[in-house]
Symmetry: D2
Subunit: 330 residues, 4 copies
């Protein structure tokens, strides 16, 4: 019980990714076997004390919302977010929402609408869109105007489908394309404003933000200022690539800063672990991430925010470094 109290907002959820084979281009079949059924994966997640939700991929992980909702009920987890899978098949290789192939683009839009309906029927308040194949690889490869017009019109159409489910757009600067259109927090927020749809906002993935050269807490504030901070993904990396590592394993201070900021703005959404442990134990990486989250959330709640505000007012970097070192490292 106590553990849950230190967690934010609607709760902490986990994506099932660590239980999949997690391959790369050199070992495409993955570094581990996929042994469990989806229900067994969910049971393992539910057995972790602090986790109350799960993030699901649609239709990759399920197609019928009814049976899925029942399975979630059985294992005692809520659906925190449904991700529309519009990036994981060869047909999407040149994009989904921006596709120059009208039929394919329509298919992506329809799938997104069905995902919105599935979410509504399962009591899940939001879906996420990551148009990861919507971008380009070479200079001069595409007409950017056409790509952006088609993307934004698609987002508008999906958002209009129903207003009671939120659409969180996830951004990432590269991979699998060398350039992805939704690359930074600024571009997603710009899109949210352009669509003028209340239910379009942003999902900030820690590693994606870091890869784009962003400070994650600043991105959180930018989104929050617009009332557009819909969802969060936790993980870590070495800034050059989306390494999807254990939370806090590289950027300790920035991860603390994220939680401090969420505390400050009284963030009331979900946040999810989104890691991709190629070689590490599935449950182990989740547990190590949760332990770090708990440690840093406790610290974020414990520190003297008026003292910090005072140091920040003075731009006092030395004071901040000294204070955080004492508070976190003892």
């Amino acid at each position: 019980m106590k553990e849950n109290k230190v967690m934010y907002g609607k709760g902490l959820s986990v994506a099932c990714v660590p239980f999949y084979p997690c391959g790369d281009r050199f070992v495409p079949t993955g570094y581990r076997e996929d042994r469990d059924t989806l229900e067994q994966k969910l049971e393992k997640i539910a057995s972790l004390g602090d986790v109350t939700g799960v993030e699901l991929s649609y239709p990759a992980e399920f197609e019928e919302p009814g049976p899925m909702a029942e399975m979630l009920k059985r294992v005692g987890l809520k659906a925190s977010n449904l991700e529309v899978e519009i990036f994981g098949a060869p047909k999407w290789k040149y994009g989904a929402l921006s596709s120059r192939d009208d039929k394919l683009r329509e298919e992506a839009i329809e799938l997104s609408k069905k995902c919105v309906d599935a979410a509504a029927s399962m009591g899940c308040e939001q879906i996420s869109l990551w148009p990861g194949q919507d971008g380009f690889d070479y200079p001069m490869q595409i007409d950017y105007k056409e790509a952006w017009d088609r993307t934004i019109d698609a987002v508008k159409e999906i958002a209009r489908h129903r207003s009671d489910v939120k659409i969180a757009i996830e951004y990432k600067i590269k991979e699998p394309r060398t350039h992805i259109h939704f690359s930074t927090v600024g571009k997603v927020l710009l899109t949210a404003l352009e669509t003028q749809a209340d239910n379009v906002g942003v999902m900030i993935d820690f590693g994606h933000a870091t890869m784009a050269g962003e400070n994650v807490a600043e991105s959180v504030i930018l989104a929050h200022r617009q009332g557009k901070l819909f969802h969060l993904h936790l993980n870590d990396n070495f800034r050059m690539w989306d390494d999807d590592m254990i939370v806090g394993s590289v950027h300790l201070w920035e991860t603390f800063e994220l939680f401090y900021t969420l505390e400050k703005i009284k963030y009331d959404g979900w946040y999810s672990l989104d890691i991709f442990p190629y070689r590490e134990d599935s449950l182990g990486t989740i547990r190590a991430s949760l332990d770090m989250v708990r440690k840093l959330v406790e610290a974020a709640q414990r520190v003297d925010s008026s003292k910090i505000a005072q140091l920040q007012k003075a731009n006092d970097a030395v004071g901040i470094c000294e204070y955080l070192r004492k508070e976190l490292l003892g």
Copy 2:
């Protein structure tokens, strides 16, 4: 005469930077002497065939618009843009528009308004704001909410001062701070929309965009879609830092793509050389940049845009590479 025809929009202008000592932190007094008066610098710029404008720094290069306008008339150049200098003195070290020091922030706003007035009185249609010290160096150093609120309010106030002069906000991801608030094209466009001021838009600096992981032509299109592409800076770098090198000396294809895109959208603003040649000859770097601009603009006008459109429609990277190689390399 013929050369000028291939140049875009209002014309090509040059900033005087290459004539200054161009120091760095190891050689702060610079790698060359500052021998010429401002008028002599302008005369040298005017002697280059294709250049019809100059970009000036206010109040670093002049304080009184009247005499400045006369000097420009004498040398035969127009003022393409006035940059407000709110980053080059120790007092701005923790920011200007976002400063937590009310008095200092007010000083920055007033200076910007005076710059707007100077522009108007000189027949210069725009100023640029580069709040390069407005950012932070360490995690947790500042309150991002406060910083952004203050910045955007300041931009609003400057924009309201008069509506007949455009305000082009220049972004850059780092330097001189490890993180600058206006870091990407998306953040500036978001700000432009939030301010709801018609005269607030973006200046895209080639190297700043590249440093932020952007494709410059895509950033141009994003700005153009919003009617917010106000100004352009040309230069080049190795993506990690703002090396401010000769145009096209690293990113040949992307530089071509920029001109191809400007041609396509019929860009009608100014564009300026903004290079910082630490060790190279002042006029030489400008001339080598102009020669490359001319070469690539000619190519952008010569290529078969319907052929390119067809290849782009098909996402045909191979076809594009083959076509551009033949067109540009013979």
Copy 3:
């Protein structure tokens, strides 16, 4: 006939990679089907005018050197290089040559020796070692001393197996590990010197060098100064990741500089295309790469090397930019 003359040294070879499905972690089964047999792939490669060799992966592409040699004879290609495949199965996930598992490490060494024997029996003068899983993902994850000692001892043992086959070590800074031990040209050359084995040298992959922040031509010279430049891979990328793109599609000047440098040192080894076209046509990307190679090799042979030497003597960056623009862009 004429085309072949402009190619360097032993000739230009191609790896079969573009004919494989080329998947990534989001589309692990790949963006295309693997339709051809190895012999069909080789026939397609042989049909390209300029290519005289092929680079093969052992034992991934063949196990018995006899039949393989016959197949090569049938299609009219030479084996330019055999790569030992010690990175593409889950068992190598924590490394091969540096593995802390004695038995696994022994397996990797034995496989490498068998590859050396296969090369000798096929009249192929070299093998390449890319210990791409030999590295680490997290700080503190491994004992670096042990890892390097084991790696270097393994290289020594493989090199000693027979002296008539060269061992070209390929380096890369990351992927599939977040850190790979052989990350830069300097580390490989250091290893070559430490082993004191004449047959240990370096393979420089254009994109790997670029990703590591190297200038490729400078790396070529460093290796050549030590008599250790054994092999070359051609491709391109955006510096942050090993995008394995069409030759010259990003770094035109650096690619030209590479050929200019090979010309200067009278490079007499093989060089290979090593691209990974996820979405592009297999033969198309090879052809576009070859066309660029030919174009730049011709330019490298045509330019006035005494003029260039004179400009270089004076560190004249402006002069070099002007000269190259005129020579390459007309």
Copy 4:
């Protein structure tokens, strides 16, 4: 007294940089005034409990070793290292040791020899060479073979001057040139082996290693394996640039790993703070850095190295993350 015990090897020293104005190209005169004499700077450094040495720049900070030695005696500090200043004047803009200007190169070599003599006469065991201007800015700008031959011959000549003083070569991948020859630990170690001089080794600067994509502890081991780890600089940055920040303020885990590794190899040299606090308080940044060093050195000495060795043997990233979190964050 107790504090000194936790410090390594010969001791901890500080460079005077934080007391200088610390300008950049936008504020070349610096963000603070240079108020103190050298002796006053040294007194302030000496007043910090843990510091027993100072790193001096020759001839920028002193020319005559006699009076300098007396001043050090007065303030109670040892000279840990003398840096030859061959990068801070316009004349060195195209390099010092590699200069194509014979006379200038000779001047750099002679200055280095005089520095070696000064060190010997002051009882300082080593000098450092950072040929930071020895590199290039543009592709094709220089002849790499000539540059490396001249550089290595210069190092040999300096090393031969006397064998009782060590020459620590400092590497950095860029700044002030876009490419510096001595860019990575591998290139310096290769040079050390090529010169066959016992007194040539490497200085590893934390931020320079990080900027080059290195893991600092691995670089330390590579140097130590060759008996070439001569000196260390402590600081931190955001990986893209040499931000020279407070120790541990970004890379906590890697900084811990560095101390853990130094402990393991029983490092017996000096290590120095080398920070460049543009905007922060001079003494404050030094003190915050020292406090972090002490905290992490204590942790490095306290942790269970056999437990860590066991986890490392198993490549157990999860176990390492969990263990370090508990040990460092409580």
